[in-house]
Symmetry: C2
Subunit: 402 residues, 2 copies
């Protein structure tokens, strides 16, 4: 018997009609002879509504109580979905975070699932459908915990792993993973198969289809994923390990994000240890530095150091740099109107000339590259934000994704 | 140190501003040196919203899942109130039904609290304020249960009993218990002190200030209650045992309800066992028969039997009577436009002439009495519904309650 984990996101369960539609999807899978565990998010908008309540009380609302508050969203969806399944004459029931229990560790609002009791539910799957809230668990102390925004994906993958499931299907409001953002670039194409690595790069780089840490867990435990639409019958995107995929293209997709900022320290003393002195305090403040470029200055005694961070960390970063007595520099410049555009493809490493092709394409469009970073399956550039769509379109075309 | 149970109803926590106001009430009590357990209802309207969701899926929505659904309402309020208390620099935390746990028995949506673990919370009260969701618990099997609409009162009283609290204050949207409905009869007066019995009669008879079963529990365990307003500083109504109250009036209040119906079976055979044959099947169908009057018919071989039921049970009752082969009667008449008006007062039993005064008052207003029932502290009559307010006003005046 095939054991399937089906996860439904917030828009998929956003109204009563949609919850009933989801119940019908599950019924079809169940009637086909599969064992089913359904994982659900909160109804679209509810988590934001609850967060607004908390912010109206305190911007720094107590984190323990925030988890108690937010976890109710998925509990509501669970009960409604189980009720809808029972209405369809199926046997179904909710299993809440504390009933299973789903054990987590780590801070409130940012916990990780470490274990859960599978025996009771495994037994129950012989007779009915288990409905489980995503995004939450309990700590060893018995407090309610949550695992970060979008954490229902992580719940689905963790359950797929712990129950040794045959597949894990992520139902969402798009048809699958696209070669770039289909809302902005109409020629974007749905990708049929993609490797974990590529998916990871794409999801970290702004393709918001799946939560990166969930993809990472699936990669580590080799859990086959499928991202597909709740609202159509079309096939989605399958996500496997690289070996199972035949590559006929060097580049699988083009991703972009507009939430970066670039900082340049001008005239930094050019001596060993200076980079560490700059980045250590940022690291301690949990500011994530993405790309780093070091140029040699004209006087050869000082250097310029450029790096990128999330735009939301900009003012904090400037403050830390200003108060950093360990480093000397002449000036500081920043640009918060930049974008990051990336090409992703597991075939890149074996295809010569990809880098040249990308740079030439951008040059043809007269787009200036402000910074570059690469990995085995990814090549990212920072450009002025106003050039974003032009760059994405050009790259999508020259790498034959249209 | 005084241990206080403070319970806040749905309108008292209906908005974020009101939750913050409730936090300030609690702070005042806490700063005065009291130990505090706060019990909260769902935000006004939320329970109805959740019920509507469930009905949109199925009129007979699964009861286990309905309890999972509805219990989220109080959990949200708990988290928000705890957060608001912490914002006021108080130490506070939520204790959910399964964390305490609050053990219940009985059916889903109609369970009773039978026990809870008090030791952990008792210890916690030395350092902070405990916030607990009303209306819910868990079963021995570990399922979520609820204890019926208005069940937060029952939770408050059960907690007052189990924690051996010094007082239990029910915060609501009215100033206390009134001599009759202040919205309809402007001369209605707030009652300062009332006995459990009187309160029980009043709350069962349509004064919706407190849930009757909660008053009953308070009476059995002699837990002093106070009903008071969240929105004013005025003193509320204290509810004690009868001995502690000095009565200077025979009648404490006038209650009325408009949800009854009257049925008369005309020409029933007048022989032993006939009443049992009529009421047994109604009892089995869980139809509550309130007043029963048996007249002798003119022919002395048959009799007329009149009784009252809740109006919602009318069609079901007629059906059962029609299919009842054990009894013979000539005709059936019913009136679903009746009201029940009652005077309540622990002093009634020791004051002669109360009954006469009531009947004369109604006769003066040319109001016909259709049925009568009495208890030691209550005298109820069924009248035509259109006469309700006239009757209530007249009784309120002649028993010197204005």
């Amino acid at each position: 018997m095939v054991k399937k984990i089906l996860k439904f996101g917030g828009t998929s369960v956003g109204t009563i009609e949609r919850i009933q539609h989801v119940a019908n999807i599950i019924k079809k899978e169940y009637d086909a002879g599969n064992q089913i565990i359904a994982i659900v998010s909160a109804m679209a908008g509810r988590t934001n509504e609850l967060i607004k309540y908390s912010k109206d009380i305190a911007q720094d609302f107590d984190k323990r109580e925030l988890d108690v508050l937010l976890s109710t969203g998925e509990q509501v969806t669970c009960a409604l979905l189980a009720g809808a399944l029972i209405k369809l004459k199926l046997k179904a029931k909710t299993w809440l975070n504390w009933q299973i229990p789903i054990l987590t560790e780590g801070e409130h609002s940012n916990s990780r699932i470490i274990n859960m009791n599978v025996s009771q539910i495994s037994k129950y799957l012989d007779e009915g459908i288990a409905v489980i809230p995503g995004f939450q668990g309990i700590s060893k102390k018995g407090d309610v915990t949550t695992i970060g925004r979008g954490g229902s994906d992580a719940t689905a993958v963790a359950i797929a792993k712990l129950f040794n499931a045959d597949s894990c299907e992520i139902y969402t409001d798009v048809d699958g993973v696209f070669s770039t953002d289909p809302n902005k670039i109409p020629v974007a194409k749905k990708i049929e198969k993609i490797s974990y690595d590529e998916m990871l790069e794409l999801s970290s780089l702004g393709a918001k289809v799946m939560q990166p840490s969930a993809v990472q867990t699936a990669m580590i435990y080799n859990i086959p994923l499928e991202v597909r639409s709740t609202f159509t019958d079309r096939k989605g995107t399958k996500i496997f390990d690289q070996q199972s995929i035949d590559y006929n293209k060097s580049v699988t997709g083009v991703a972009y994000s507009k939430d970066d900022a670039k900082i340049t320290l001008i005239g930094v003393e050019d001596k060993p240890g200076v980079a560490a002195n700059i980045f250590d305090p940022l690291n301690k403040a949990q500011i994530n530095v993405d790309m780093v470029i070091q140029n040699i200055s004209s006087d050869q005694k000082t250097t310029d150091i450029t790096f990128t961070i999330k735009r939301e960390d900009l003012s904090n970063t400037k403050e830390i740099l200003k108060n950093n007595k360990k480093i000397k520099y002449q000036d500081i410049a920043y640009n918060d109107k930049v974008a990051k555009v990336s090409i992703v493809g597991a075939g890149m490493v074996s295809t010569p000339g990809v880098t040249f092709k990308m740079f030439k394409g951008l040059a043809d469009e007269k787009i200036n590259i402000l910074a570059i970073s690469t990995s085995e399956i990814k090549l990212s550039v920072i450009i002025e934000q106003e050039n974003t769509l032009n760059a994405v379109k050009k790259l999508h075309t020259i790498f034959e994704l249209d």
